[in-house]
Amino acid sequence: MSNIPSNLRYTKEHEWARLEADGTVVVGITDHAVNTLGDITLVTLPTVGTRLTADQEFGTIDSVKAVSELFAPIDGEVIEVNTELDASPEDVNTDCYGDGWMVRIRPTDAGALDRLLTAEQYEALIKE
């Protein structure tokens, strides 16, 4: 069973997005994605200041099985990157919704998050 927290929004590409109190959005990959990828050996993320476009690639994840692309859930600017993942990519495996977060974005459009999948919709998607 995948862990799909109800307070997050999701993409079809298995990223999650969480709206913070300050209006920024934290992004990572889902438990389902982690289980599919297996052990993650390398996470490559953009630098602070990079402008992201929804559905466009913004980084890569190397695992023992494959190299996979990360896709931006919404438009926005990267304002923080989890540099801990440089030395500890395994944090994504052990805590994908916590220590394994990837980037913090300042959204271009504050309402963009509402257009992402809800937990129920994402759960239905991965059951297909």
Partner: protein, 373 residues
């Protein structure tokens, strides 16, 4: 000429000598350093297919009802995730978290696991295995009963499948393995390697090693020595035990945290070094093993060179280094303080009385291209 009579020989030793390989003492083994030349051999593996005699590596078998428990106690990775025909990379640690060896664990059957260990560590590892898990199952050193031939490069899998007459081998996934017959010999082909390329490592009975080796040569593979093996693994940023990792380093600072499964301890599968590594994980590393590219042309950093700060004080150490034939320039691996481990960080390397600049690089220096669909 040095006396090499006391050195150990693999079953392919005479074949290397007969072919004119330049032979060296490698950890007590008389092994080929190069045949045609390191650069040509490096290129052959990146562009076609090369074969390596790695028979000096050790094989230790764990058998019986307690085999999984024994392996779980010894390795940092989680062997419970293996199924028959699957393998995993792991570290083996001392109680203090220092690294005994880095190994690959193969599950042949529910009560038969094999750990392949580095050649120079066979006796040390076997003693460590006996000491910490000898009460759990039968542990047997089969290092002298197994020859190992690595076949690596973009054409490697096709060559092995063709010579074995087995399309099924092409379906073996990464870190999977399957039996086959090649040159009349029963082999086990594992989709693993140490070059950054795709390929197989073939387990062969010693009596059949020459037949398999010769069949691979006749099929177009180039023989590759230890020299190119080192440049290939360096470009792929794969750790070499004795250089990048040893008893004084732990897997978390060496970038091997992905094979340290602290969560298996909570399920009752504690492992040697588990408590120490949990404490290190909680307080954080002080140094980190990073890749670097030399940014001043014509300089090559070698193992043992110092990383120095602006005042010339030693703050880190190069553990591997050399030319990077495929990606160009010179690259290396070094321990640096965590604060200097971010990609793009400028480093100063001091070597034999002079210093030159380098830059921290993320990930492997070389990635093999995705195969055409």
């Amino acid at each position: 000429m040095a006396d090499t009579s006391s050195l150990q020989h693999t079953p392919l030793h005479d074949a290397h000598v007969a072919r004119g390989a330049k032979m060296v003492d490698f950890g007590g083994w008389h092994m080929p350093l190069q045949y045609e030349g390191i650069l040509a051999e490096h290129r052959a593996v990146r562009t076609a297919v090369g074969i390596f005699d790695v028979s000096h590596m050790g094989e230790v078998d764990f058998t019986g009802p307690g085999a999984l428990a024994a392996v779980q106690r010894l390795i940092t990775n989680d062997a419970a995730k293996l199924t028959d025909g699957k393998a995993m990379y792991t570290a083996v640690c001392y109680p203090d978290g220092g690294i005994v060896d880095d190994c690959i664990v193969y599950r042949h059957a529910p009560e038969w696991y094999r750990i392949v260990v580095n050649a120079a560590n066979i006796a040390k590892d076997f003693a460590h295995f006996q000491e910490h898990a000898g009460d759990l199952c039968a542990i047997a050193n089969h290092s002298d009963d197994v020859a190992l031939i690595a076949v690596q490069g973009p054409q490697a899998r096709g060559l092995v499948a063709r010579l074995a007459g087995s399309d099924a081998l092409l379906q073996v996934p990464s870190f999977g393995f399957a039996p086959a017959t090649l040159a009349g010999a029963s082999i086990v082909a594992a989709r693993t390697g140490y070059t950054g390329e795709d390929g197989f490592e073939l387990f062969v009975e010693p009596a059949h090693a020459v037949a398999v080796w010769d069949a691979l040569l006749a099929g177009g593979a180039a023989p590759i020595g230890l020299g190119a093996r080192d440049t290939l693994r360096l470009e792929a940023k794969l750790c070499l035990y004795g250089n990048d990792i040893d008893a004084t380093t732990n897997p978390l600072e060496a970038g091997l945290g992905w094979v340290v499964k602290l969560d298996k301890r909570a399920r009752g599968d504690d492992f040697v070094g588990g408590e120490a590594l949990a404490q290190i994980k909680a307080r954080g590393n002080t140094r980190s093993l990073v890749g670097f590219r030399v940014t001043e042309a014509k300089n090559i950093a070698r193992p043992g060179a110092d990383i120095v700060d602006a005042g010339g004080a030693v703050i880190g150490k190069v553990t591997s280094g050399g030319p990077a034939p495929t990606v160009g320039g010179a690259v290396g691996i070094a321990y640096v303080p965590v604060g200097l481990s971010a990609p793009g960080t400028a480093l100063t390397i001091s070597q034999r009385g002079r210093s030159f600049a380098a830059e921290v690089v993320k990930g492997p220096f070389y990635r093999r291209p995705e195969p055409a669909a």
